[in-house]
Amino acid sequence: MNLESILFFIFAGASIISSVMAISRRQPIFGVMYLLVLGLSVAGLFAVKKAFFLSLIQIIIYVGAVLVLFVFVIAMINLSKEELIFGKIRRSRFLFLIPVMLIFILILSVVISESGHNIQRFQFFTAKDVSLALYKDLLFHFEYLSVFLLSAIVITVFIGMRGKKQ
């Protein structure tokens, strides 16, 4: 095993463990902290394959922006301990078997489709290459994303204002 494989399996284990911990905590703030570990380990997984631009964007957007939003919302809602008790699982304990079965089927299909293809290698993923793909091939996505972000701002401000009036 070379260094790339070792780093991949370290980050993969960290991401799986932190995601399981993130969805199973009682207090929301600890879930957000484990989500931070998940974001950092996914950024590390990008960096293992030399996609440093994407790795930095992941850290800036996820760890920098989205998680701060979560922390602010948790601070605003400010639940007491009695209100958190309902967070216990009350449904059937075997409900998780449905996604587990689905994942085995999908992994099997990936294994079947993976065999017999040779892999074309791209050594470095720089900001220039990603940006050229974004502006040349995905120009429509880029344009609708701007409208999408604008509508998100309008919706968020509208919802916030309505709640304040009542």
């Binding site: 394959k49 996609a51 699982i89 990936v110 993923f125 793909a133």
Partner: protein
């Protein structure tokens, strides 16, 4: 599976695992904040799947990961605004108790 080289298969398998951990969280948790945290876990799995595809098809798939990051940020912003609005009107974050729209 534990080979000398990391292939797209590894990334796609890991991404699927994270995606279904997130789906489990969405099904099992009742707190609306945890529903959004699970949604983020699933979104990170989707990023890994598309990144694994980019090792095979090139840069266009990585640019799609950037597009999805922006969409995920929008989704979190609108979702958390809705969570605050729900908490203001019904004073709870339990998604089972928010059933005013039921006929």
């Amino acid at each position: 599976m534990v080979g000398a080289e990391i292939t797209p298969f590894h990334f796609i398998t890991l991404g699927l695992t994270l995606f279904f951990i997130g789906i489990c969280g969405i099904i099992l948790r009742r707190n609306i904040i945890f529903v959004f945290i699970s949604l983020e876990v699933a979104t990170n799995g989707i990023f890994l799947i598309f990144f694994g595809a980019s090792l095979k098809v090139g840069y266009i798939s990585q640019a799609l990961v950037l597009v999805f990051m922006a969409i995920a940020a929008v989704e979190v912003a609108v979702g958390l605004a809705l969570a605050i609005a729900i908490f203001r009107t019904s004073k709870t974050v339990n998604v089972d108790e928010v059933s005013q729209l039921k006929g």
